[in-house]
């Protein structure tokens, strides 16, 4: 594991910057500028900026990844012409959306209409601050990172409903209602699946959970929980087959029918931020985070930032699974989603909790798909 962390990098940059800026100021200001508090504040700013930029770039590449994958599933190509293999297409689209006029319906509630896209995007982005990308590359390691992430993650229906209600549109209202209604279908199974992971790892801290997977990844003993978590994540992220709130066949665009221009771009970006976060959570909880099995030659794991690289590879592959599901399954109905959540996923998740408890109790390390590391 690399000794450098994002925080130390930001700290270095902040100290260097402040030292050079302070050079032109008289001594009292100079002393204040180079004091620890100011450096810490600037460090936090730089840290956030790097994190925001990195996550936004990842989000846009994620859109590209989905478009290309979906294209191949559909026997077509996806974006082709802007940039290499269409890599810059989404930047062009974003630029176009940025230039577009934002139209607010006259009868819409102004505050809610403006607030909800922003709040939706911001709450989605906040999660990045606590997600460990690799050792030391997260903002802070709290004891309950996992719970905090899930809590922030489940804010979304609130803002969706707020935006839907504020835009004063029948389709949007139905979509917002559905969003609020389907929340109870997936939150419980997701939390139960997470409980199974927590039982096995013995901690709510994501870094600890990943570290516990050095020996074996959790997907093998907790396969049922993985299935439940993937399904629940699909519903949480409102992707096909669970994108009922924006079912475009009957509700046009559902809760964001009335949004256009940059506000729509906020919603869309936030959606993909959530897809990214969902994929990262799957990787962290079940696929060993940035760790690799020990039989992988050390050439592949010892180069700088290897942890981040392998982590992102895993994230993109997990997102590929989400795209695969999108390419092959139709949309469900609200009542069917509720039935699926309560009658299939909850029992399966409970079963996986029991399995996890048994695994812990018996200290038995499953052999399938995992390799005990040499050092233990």
């Amino acid at each position: 594991m690399s000794s450098a962390s994002l925080f130390s990098v930001s700290d270095t940059i902040a100290a260097w910057l402040l030292a050079h800026i302070a050079y032109v100021f008289p001594p009292p200001v100079k002393g204040w500028l180079t004091s620890g508090d100011v450096v810490l504040g600037l460090t936090a700013l730089i840290f956030s900026a790097i994190l925001l930029g990195a996550s936004m770039i990842n989000v846009i590449v994620l859109i590209w990844w989905e478009r290309k994958l979906l294209g191949r599933f559909m026997d077509r190509r996806g974006a082709m012409h802007v940039g290499f293999a269409g890599l810059l297409q989404n930047f062009a689209d974003g630029l176009k959306l940025f230039r577009k006029d934002t139209v607010r319906p006259t009868q819409a509630d102004e505050l809610g209409f403006w607030l909800s896209p922003t709040a939706y995007l911001v709450t989605s982005l906040v999660i990045f601050a606590i997600l460990p990308i690799s050792t030391g590359w997260n903002g802070g390691s709290l004891p309950l990172t996992l719970l905090l992430a899930l809590v922030i993650f489940s804010f979304a229906p609130l803002f969706i409903f707020l935006g839907a209600w504020a835009s004063n549109n029948k389709y949007a209202l139905i979509g917002g209602m559905r969003s609020a209604a389907q929340m109870i279908a997936y939150e419980v199974p997701i939390l139960l699946a997470v409980v199974a992971v927590v039982v096995l790892a013995g901690s709510f801290d994501l870094t600890t959970i990943v570290m516990e997977q050095r020996n074996y990844w959790f997907w093998a003993p907790l396969f049922l929980a993985l299935i439940v978590f993937l399904t629940g994540m699909l519903a949480e992220m409102e992707r096909i087959p669970f994108d009922l709130p924006e079912a475009e066949a009957e509700l046009v665009e559902g809760w964001n029918t009335e949004y256009g221009g940059m506000l729509f771009a906020f919603f869309m970006l936030a959606d993909y931020v959530r897809y990214l976060v969902g994929s990262i959570l799957v990787v962290l909880l079940f696929l060993g985070g940035w760790t690799l099995p020990s039989y992988v030659p050390s050439v592949l794991t010892s180069f700088p930032l290897a942890g981040i690289v392998w982590f992102m590879v895993k994230v993109y592959l997990v997102f590929g699974v989400f795209v695969w599901v999108r390419a092959s399954l139709p949309r469900m109905r609200t009542d069917q989603l509720l039935r699926l959540g309560w009658m299939r996923m909850v029992p399966l998740a409970l079963l996986s909790v029991i399995l996890a408890a048994l695994v812990v109790a018996a200290h038995c390390l499953p052999v399938l798909g995992c390799v005990p590391s040499m050092g233990g």
Binding site: F73, D75, Y171, E248, A249, E250, L329, P330, R333, D335
Partner: protein, 378 residues
């Protein structure tokens, strides 16, 4: 709460408006509104020569142009007392069945997309393109064919067409299996479609619903069997039926109809290989109009005795039973042309089969109707 689904709505597949009264997510009442695409084809037809109306037929139903050409041609030939050669009839049946596959593929693409599954949309459109390529080789058009003429068809099939057509339909038969794998084998698809939009055979008959919607309720009514027009009497095929009367049943019926259409196409190709001959009636009067005569020339109309007659035809179009009624009062134009659009009646019967279901069920149910607004509004 009344919700307007349309005129611009992903569910409508065209320009029409489904007004829905909902309570929660339950549909209480519906009121379909038509006419957004009304182009007055019946009125324009009164000012056109018989062959010129064919250009309108392609635009009446833009996914099943050749079926509508066939419909009009049968009625016009009856009104004008013309008998086409048999080879032309076989080519027409071949075209109509290829068009049925094309239209059903288009339906498949649009219908499954309504369920939120976008992949089959591309599959359906891709495979429909093969049919369009076939059409292009002998009619010259990909969407608006203008191929049939009163008294026959415009031209014979080009060399090598039958071999290529066999190749394409063989390939399509494989694709139908893949469609079923994507849809019928999917639990979610079955949950979304089973038991939806129930319309019993009695209700369907009372409400005038025809085509796959009627056959999915167990009725074996198919004009190609019951009242064989053209050369359908000489071809072997089965009527596709299902007994579920729901969306899945309509899916099954349409899929089976495509397979039966392939069967008919193969028979037609065999016959066409063995029986060369003329494709245009030899005793074709010149007063028929374009493109054989200077019909715009007023001098042409002098001193001419026109026959009179009435024409009526019903064909089993991909969407249902389409009808044409032509009054030829002894002029170079028909006096009155009336078309029966199956889609108009099938949509209108939504008052019967839509209430009681959920808002989320509207796209699959209305998708299973196979709406073509062009022929509905004419």
């Amino acid at each position: 709460m009344w919700v307007n689904m349309g005129p611009q709505h992903p569910m409508t597949h065209g320009l029409w408006n489904l007004r829905v009264r909902i309570e929660g997510e339950i549909i209480k009442d519906v009121d379909p509104e038509m006419g957004f695409l009304h182009r007055g084809i019946e009125k324009i037809s009164e000012d056109r020569h018989y062959n010129e109306i064919i250009t309108l037929m392609d635009r009446t139903c833009y996914v099943a142009g050749l079926s509508w050409e066939h419909l009009f041609i049968i009625a016009a030939e009856e009104a004008l007392h013309i008998v086409p050669p048999e080879r032309a009839e076989y080519i027409r049946v071949l075209s109509a069945e290829l068009q049925r596959i094309g239209s059903h593929l288009m339906w498949y693409a649009a219908f499954v997309q309504d369920l939120g599954l976008t992949t089959p949309f591309l599959y359906g459109m891709r495979d429909r393109d093969l049919i369009l390529d076939l059409f292009q080789t002998y009619t010259g058009g990909r969407l608006t064919y203008e191929y049939m003429r009163v008294g026959g068809v415009r031209n014979d099939l080009p060399l090598g067409f039958t071999a290529r057509c066999r190749q394409v339909v063989d390939w399509l038969m494989d694709r139908f299996v893949e469609y079923d794998r994507l849809c019928l084998s999917s639990t979610i698809f079955r949950e979304r479609c089973d038991g939806l939009g129930l319309l019993s055979a009695e209700d369907a008959i009372a409400y005038g619903v025809t085509g796959p919607m009627l056959r999915s309720a167990g009725s074996r009514r198919d004009l190609r069997k019951d009242r064989p027009y053209s050369v359908y009497g000489q071809l072997q095929f089965d009527v596709a039926t299902a007994n579920t009367a729901d969306v899945t049943g309509r899916y099954l019926v349409r899929m089976e109809e495509m397979r039966q259409a392939v069967k008919i196409i193969r028979q037609c190709l065999d016959w066409l290989d063995d029986n060369p001959g003329p494709v245009m009636a030899s005793q074709l009067p010149r007063w028929l109009g374009a493109p054989y005569a200077p019909v715009g020339n007023e001098a042409y109309l002098l001193k001419r005795n026109y026959p009179t007659g009435l024409g009526f035809s019903m064909v089993e179009e991909p969407h249902g039973e389409a009808g044409a009624y032509i009054v030829n009062d002894g002029g170079e134009h028909p006096y009155r042309v009336k078309f029966r659009s199956p889609v108009l009646i099938n949509i209108w019967a939504a008052k019967r089969y839509l209430p009681g279901y959920r808002v989320a069920d509207i796209p699959p149910i209305m998708g299973s109707v196979d709406v073509c607004v062009g022929e509905c509004d004419r």
